[in-house]
Symmetry: C2
Subunit: 210 residues, 2 copies
Amino acid sequence: MKEKLSELPGKTIERLSQYRRILYNSIREGKTNIYSHELARMMNLTPVQVRRDLMLIGYSGSQSKGYVIKDLVALIGKIIDSSDGQKVIIVGMGNLGRAITSYFSGKRDKLSIVAAFDNDPQKTDRIIAGIPCHHIKDVQSVIEEEQSPIAILTVSPEAAHEVAKHLLDCGIKGLLNYTSVPLTVPDDIYLEEYDIITSLEKLAYLVKSK
Amino acid sequence: MKEKLSELPGKTIERLSQYRRILYNSIREGKTNIYSHELARMMNLTPVQVRRDLMLIGYSGSQSKGYVIKDLVALIGKIIDSSDGQKVIIVGMGNLGRAITSYFSGKRDKLSIVAAFDNDPQKTDRIIAGIPCHHIKDVQSVIEEEQSPIAILTVSPEAAHEVAKHLLDCGIKGLLNYTSVPLTVPDDIYLEEYDIITSLEKLAYLVKSK
DNA sequence: TTTGCGTTGATATAAATTTCACAATACTCA
DNA sequence: TGAGTATTGTGAAATTTATATCAACGCAAA
């Protein structure tokens, strides 16, 4: 693999994560090898696109047996996981925060949610969905202690701006924003926005114009 | 506006939805007009891209005052909203289902969640987050009665395949999949997949490789 | 061995999306 | 008025992303 990792297209990285998810399922079903067209069908893509993604990460399969799932999973992990693991915090323990936490818990070894925060005393200082939930006022000390660079934001729209700013002040480098409030961050911070309504409206548009 | 709506790029449609979200906020703050660079900064895009999008939908601003927010919101609504409104159901009333429902409720006039479903008798036959929650066995009759073509899927991974298949049998035309299980659907069905872990892994990758 | 089938890997092509560059326009202020 | 400034709208170029095509390969069966 000669190319720098950072040259991988963003879309490919997203797909790598999804390939791995599917490959885990296949391993559980007892499969050891898989063809590009099988993977493609499961992802709703073309076989060519699968092969090209794998080409980009430098993985070679065999013409007769396709790809060795175990090796492929390992390589994807080498690329998208941090070697020493990365710690994530989640801020806002409403329905969405709890859903994400319990959905995520234990799914990935190299990526773990290490702490949760809320401003409601009823929720703090106890374990929720397996994660210790602190009061938001302790966020700075926990971030420093745990060395976690990534935060998931699931607070109320009203609090979003203020909390986001506070997190950046505490040294957060990557922010996954699930609130309905669009955020603006400095260039050196990575921000992923995802608004649930957006995808619903897109879908509604497509269904309508069919 | 001469061009067919279906010619709008998919990315533009997604952004239109987000523009409108931001514009609603601006209206609340008392703004009546907005420049492309203001909108761009709030969306983390370039001003040119904003202008291009608005050009594609046939909206013209003024060089001195920028765009009239009220008119722009109305035009976006005309494009992405269905004129007579569209009804959405949500299947799976766990944390995620409840989060989406309460988050969404009342946010859009033309798009409304009209019914929820679950298989847990504790949750069914009552109102949750303002939406009547039925048992999943009644899904067919409710879909027919309400004429709702779109479903949000927030059930457990184990149930995802079976429930999705059932929904398609009941005539659902668009499916928003929030489970961690990738789905395969016929060509005439619109499917939007969104996996929470994918965006987290992408973010972790970017933060790592910085 | 030889033929045929199905697969990978890779180059070339195409399509979609974004950015550049700048003309045209409207406003401000001297 | 007229120069200066800031904005929009848009054709063209650049970039990103996806698809088409095909040679090379490995295997199975005749």
